[in-house]
Symmetry: C2
Subunit: 328 residues, 2 copies
């Protein structure tokens, strides 16, 4: 199978939103009048972002999910994406499930594949995704990292830490019951981008980011961009790891310290961390209901720079969890 057959068979489909899709030198998009185009780009490398033997269907899902998660953090409505793919060989047994997983998630979000590139090389998946953000009365509705104000509440969507738990089990550093691993592995391999929540939070949240490298590190980006600090209540946060709230999963399997580490600095969660003024608490819960996505208030921003942890009684805890850095 040649390069052009491969593209035609697995990656060429009619477009409805884009003016022109796969098959010319460029794709053409015509954003609706009065909107901004949100753009994000993520590259996934074998051995770094996924195991060589990962199911190609879930890999296709994840490659797009991590990009949609960036659109979600911005409050954008997905429109389209490009896919660049370096493959060791044109292997149909890999390409068929990969493209199915990719395009199933794309269809679920109305996000059209409009172009890309394929080449021979070590497995590498690079997706650039495009979304639309309304501009209302000259004001962009995009959620930015820089909008938090001192005194805002800090929230996180869904659950945190299960992806890291699965990663540790797959690496063999801990053992999990099969059904616990299966559920956690689903979070690692097929994360749910919080696209509906991001859109529902437009005009409600003051700042947002998606949690990809770990909550503390990613939240720090929001605090730095906004010029504020925050305190997080770990007695609330520690319950965000779904595996440890299952009745069949004895919490004793995982030490409390590790459990908190997975929640605060696990990575690969693809939840939204966001801030909103205390006056917006009802609006935040309404957005969560509208998006069918639970959100948990875990702390508060403050004028004092830095990110502090407390126990349930308000006592300070040491901060010893690093975020993920690709070159550290």
């Amino acid at each position: 199978m040649g390069e052009f057959d491969l593209i035609a068979r697995y990656f060429t489909r009619p477009t409805t939103k884009a003016v022109l899709g796969v098959g010319d030198d460029c794709a053409l998009l015509q954003p609706a009048p009065g909107t901004q185009l949100a753009i994000s780009c993520d590259m996934l490398v074998e051995g770094r972002h996924f195991f060589p033997d990962v199911d190609p269907f879930t890999l296709g899902h994840k490659a797009l999910a991590v990009n949609l998660s960036d659109l979600a953090a911005c409050g954008a409505t997905p429109l389209a994406f490009t896919l660049a793919l370096a493959l060791p060989r044109a292997d149909e047994a890999w390409l068929a499930p990969f493209s199915r997983g990719l395009l199933a998630l794309a269809d679920a979000h109305g996000c059209e594949l409009v172009g890309g590139d394929t080449t021979q090389g070590p497995l590498n998946i690079c997706i650039t995704v495009f979304g639309e953000v309304p501009v209302v009365k000259g004001r962009s509705q995009a959620l930015l990292r820089s909008g938090a104000r001192a005194g805002d509440d800090v929230y996180v969507s869904g659950t945190l830490g299960d992806a890291r738990l699965a990663l540790e089990a797959l690496r063999g550093t801990l053992a999990l019951p099969a059904d616990v691993l299966a559920e956690a592995r689903q979070r690692l391999e097929q994360p749910t981008p919080r696209v509906a929540l991001g859109q529902a939070l437009r005009g409600v949240a003051s700042a947002a980011i998606d949690v990809s490298d770990g909550l503390l590190g990613d939240l720090q980006h929001v605090l730095t961009a906004s010029g504020v600090g925050a305190t997080i209540d770990t007695s609330i946060a520690i319950n965000l790891i779904a595996a440890c709230t299952r009745p069949d999963c004895a919490a004793g399997l995982i030490s409390l310290k590790n459990r908190l580490g997975y929640v605060l600095a696990g990575g690969d969660d693809y939840e939204l961390a966001f801030t909103a003024p205390a006056s917006a608490r009802e609006a935040v819960q309404a957005a969560a209901r509208q998006a069918h996505t639970p959100v948990t208030r875990i702390g508060r921003t403050e004028a004092e720079a830095g990110l502090r942890l407390t126990d349930g009684q308000g006592n300070a805890l040491p901060r010893s969890f690093a975020s993920f850095d690709h070159f550290a």
Copy 2:
């Protein structure tokens, strides 16, 4: 140096066209009212698209140039791009010249770096580029592959085959005088995207493509998309290779057959191949002058499908030049 330092030091600059550049979950673009956004994406892999010891400055140039060439083929005005980079390690001696080469070409075309991703992995450079195409009276001015009509002239810009000549010399399959190699190597490593020509051809050319995999293969994409065939006069085409028209380069160094092969199927040229009605000959030459880019009329499209070669007397020649296919 960590991931975020690396991005801050080499790839973060203020934007003037984009609403928001590097540093948030998404970049934000606001295309001018009444325009379409042209999008293209190319991935360059070490050992496949460039030698491991290539000068990082020229590699930065080329990585963006091949993308700008796609915008040129579409007639788009460059706006912005994203860069995803997998690097074996954060090597400042490589990153500094790479970013200089990349951003020098970006500045020359007013194309802003607005976002991207960096990760550890085998060297891989993936750029997605965005350009603007006007819509006039409801009609997109984008140049497409599908617009050629039987009887149109076939043109190519600049020179063809020198990049392949340099590649062969660097591979050691032929020897070239040092100054000939230096000039050809410039074409291989720092191709000139024909951005101004593409824009000048809006409303003049009937179809266009950029020549990246070799003239015959790429022109065939235009013919297929347009439902026509073409005949190319090889007695004109053979003179398109600059190295062989130098007085100090004895044509005898390269066989006539190889020379024609480099021109017709060499690859890595990043010139524009385009069609235009015979009635537009003066307009084509005016566009070429306006863009300071020579163009050569090399043939004609015909109703009969297929791509035929003739000598200067109109006699048919055998067609034995393949185009480049990454998985063939």
